[in-house]
């Protein structure tokens, strides 16, 4: 009782159970101990009770299905031009949301654009998460001067408007959808690195990590088998918000003419092209704008709910 390190305050049976389960996890031939529901399953239960989160998820799943599955089932051509049918208003025969200046169907272009936005946004997040996660894992686990220098650089990058860095990268790489994707992906690295590093720092002192090390588990295996699952919660939250940011940034950069190039159906680019027809064809601007807003709003609401479900202690009630 006299020594009061946090570890010795832990009830001994829980500490022992942790050691045992760490050993068990690394010695597959022993039968796994019966366990109660893990933190991720409990988070999932909490998330499922959140009506706003389920609604957002439903919207996103629906959009995903429309964007990825519909083109497989029905042959659609968002690039088919028909000058005779140009600038038809919404509700015209065969064109539910109207047509653009080339007579291309707006609905089909929105569907195709959804696929582009979701795919490119997801890849950008994967870039940020894999590089940022790795940097956070390594710096958090090993520490030392590499950690200090990298964290210093990341602090600098975090304190910067993301678009400036994206512009620097695009200046170097040139414009284009893939390049914007890379630029936005790089811009998201520091946030992941910081969060993963923080959570590794929190967990690497735990008894079960020490137990794993004491039975001779390698650093690599400790990092990926024992530490990575602990960092997932925080990483998932960051990834959800990151997807919203990535979709927005890519649309914004495409709107500026730095990303997707015509005739690609990309929501930001569609909005930009709609500027010339604002006086005559409002639907060209309104539907892509609404699409972007719907996706980003859904992802943001889902992100809020995921954060609350994974960490109920800091749940942001009401405000």
């Amino acid at each position: 009782m006299a020594s009061s390190t946090p570890r010795s305050e832990r009830p001994p049976d829980i500490a022992r159970a942790q050691v045992v389960s760490a050993v068990v996890a690394d010695r597959k031939r022993l039968p796994a101990l019966p366990r109660s529901a893990g933190p991720y399953r409990r988070a999932w239960w909490r998330l499922r009770r959140d009506r706003m989160a389920m609604l957002s998820a439903a919207v996103l799943i629906l959009m995903g299905v429309v964007a990825y599955v519909v083109p497989l089932v029905i042959a659609i051509d968002p690039y088919k031009q028909s000058l005779r049918d140009s600038l038809l208003p919404p509700g015209s025969a065969g064109h539910l949301l109207g047509t653009d200046n080339f007579g291309r169907d707006v609905l089909l272009r929105l569907i195709d654009g959804g696929r582009v936005s979701l795919t490119v946004g997801l890849i950008a997040v994967v870039i940020s998460a894999s590089v940022g996660g790795l940097v956070g894992l390594v710096t958090g686990y090993f520490g030392g001067w590499v950690d200090r220098i990298l964290m210093r650089i990341i602090d600098v990058q975090l304190g910067f408007p993301g678009i400036l860095l994206a512009l620097v990268i695009i200046t170097v790489l040139g414009s284009g959808l893939e390049k914007v994707m890379v630029a936005v992906g790089i811009g998201g690295i520091p946030r992941f690195a910081r969060v993963v590093r923080g959570s590794v720092l929190n967990t690497k002192g735990e008894l079960y990590v020490e137990a794993a090390r004491s039975i001779g588990v390698s650093d690599l295996r400790i990092m990926f088998v024992h530490l990575v699952p602990q960092t997932l919660g925080a990483a998932i939250t960051i990834a959800t918000f990151g997807l919203a940011t990535a979709i927005l940034s890519i649309a914004a950069l495409s709107f500026l003419g730095l990303g997707a190039q015509p005739p690609t159906a990309e929501w930001g680019l569609m909005l930009s092209e709609a500027r010339k027809y604002l006086r005559t064809a409002w639907w060209l601007a309104v539907f892509p704008g609404l699409s972007i807003m719907l996706v980003v709003l859904s992802v943001n609401l889902l992100g809020d709910a995921v954060r609350d479900a994974l960490d109920p202690r800091v749940s942001s009630t009401a405000d």
Binding site: L164, V168, V172, S175, A251, L256, N300
Partner: protein
């Protein structure tokens, strides 16, 4: 206080150095020779191959591109500190001159947006806090949520559609007059307005629940004095933080807003420069924007020290 300010100043040096290195490297990271980029833009193959080769060698020597990279950097940084970013590849004018021409328009826009978001955001936040759980409160919260999710370029087009195309009240594009400033300032400021409204509401609600507010109410103070003098002042610190963060957001956001409304500002100049591969111009604009951002953050940090004496000694 002097020591606190000095430490903050020293802290911001690495940020500035790192961003200057990044910006410097642009010219050396672009694929190919920077001279090619410059020549390609300047003279489209005029003269014999020999004379061209000689010209390239001359320019290379003149610009010091034969020096080792660190030396080039120091030379470039020395010039940049004197606001000399060289000459634009395309426009054949000093980069500093080009930026200076466009700066007033951008500052006007950013200033208007900042004032708008602070005044509107705080008013909405106060109303939402005082009329908690009423439809007004709900409307303000929905507005602020939309502010985070609706991209500025889409909002801009919505405003143009309503106020310029349909109602014909305000011009859609251009710069130079007050009526041309309203829509861009609204667009640039609305994201901040939502954030400030949310934060003001939360911060004010927290203060209103404190015991000294009950005391003040029990004394029979009129509600106006109660809210403005006793509650708002104590709710101010988180609001100042977010206002400080807005400065950086405004600088970055102006790039998009200026493009939508075809305003002749620095942001639009930046996009043109990137598309035309006018590297010195890109370097100048990005370095200046980054520096402005760092200075703004520095000022916010220092202002904390004035608002809350605890911060001076604690950190």
């Amino acid at each position: 206080m002097a020591r606190f300010i000095a430490r903050r100043l020293v802290d911001s040096i690495p940020v500035l150095l790192l961003s200057s290195i990044l910006v410097f490297l642009i010219l050396h990271l672009v694929p190919g020779d920077p001279i090619d980029a410059m020549m390609g833009a300047a003279s489209f193959g005029i003269g014999t191959p020999e004379s061209q080769a000689k010209l390239v060698a001359d320019i290379r020597e003149q610009l010091g591109l034969n020096d080792p990279l660190p030396l080039q950097y120091l030379h470039w940084l020395g010039n940049a500190l004197r606001l000399d970013f060289g000459e634009s590849f395309i426009r054949h004018q000093k980069v500093a001159t080009l930026i200076a021409q466009r700066l007033p328009s951008t500052l006007e826009l950013a200033g208007a947006a900042l004032v708008l978001s602070v005044v509107l955001g705080m008013s909405l936040g106060i109303v939402a806090a005082l009329r908690r759980n009423t439809p007004i409160d709900g409307a303000v919260m929905i507005l602020s949520l939309a502010g985070v999710s609706l991209p500025s370029f889409a909002f801009a087009m919505l405003l143009i559609l309503v106020f310029s195309v349909t109602l014909g009240w305000l011009p859609a594009t251009g710069s130079g007059s007050l009526d041309r400033l309203i829509l861009p300032a609204l667009v640039l400021g609305y994201e901040g307005t939502g954030l400030i409204a949310r934060l003001t509401r939360a911060s004010l609600l927290e203060v209103l629940g404190r015991e000294y507010m009950t005391t003040a109410r029990a004394k029979g103070l009129p509600p106006r004095i109660l809210v403005l003098r006793h509650a708002l002042r104590n709710a101010l610190i988180p609001i100042v933080t977010i206002v400080g963060l807005q400065v950086g957001r405004l600088l970055a956001g102006s790039i998009i807003v200026e493009t939508v409304f075809a305003r002749q500002g620095v942001g639009q100049l930046a996009i043109d420069a990137i598309l035309q591969k006018d590297y010195p111009l890109v370097q100048g604009i990005i370095l200046l924007t980054a520096s402005a951002y760092v200075v703004a953050n520095l000022l916010v940090d220092i202002s904390y020290g004035f608002i809350n004496p605890k911060i001076r000694t604690a950190s």
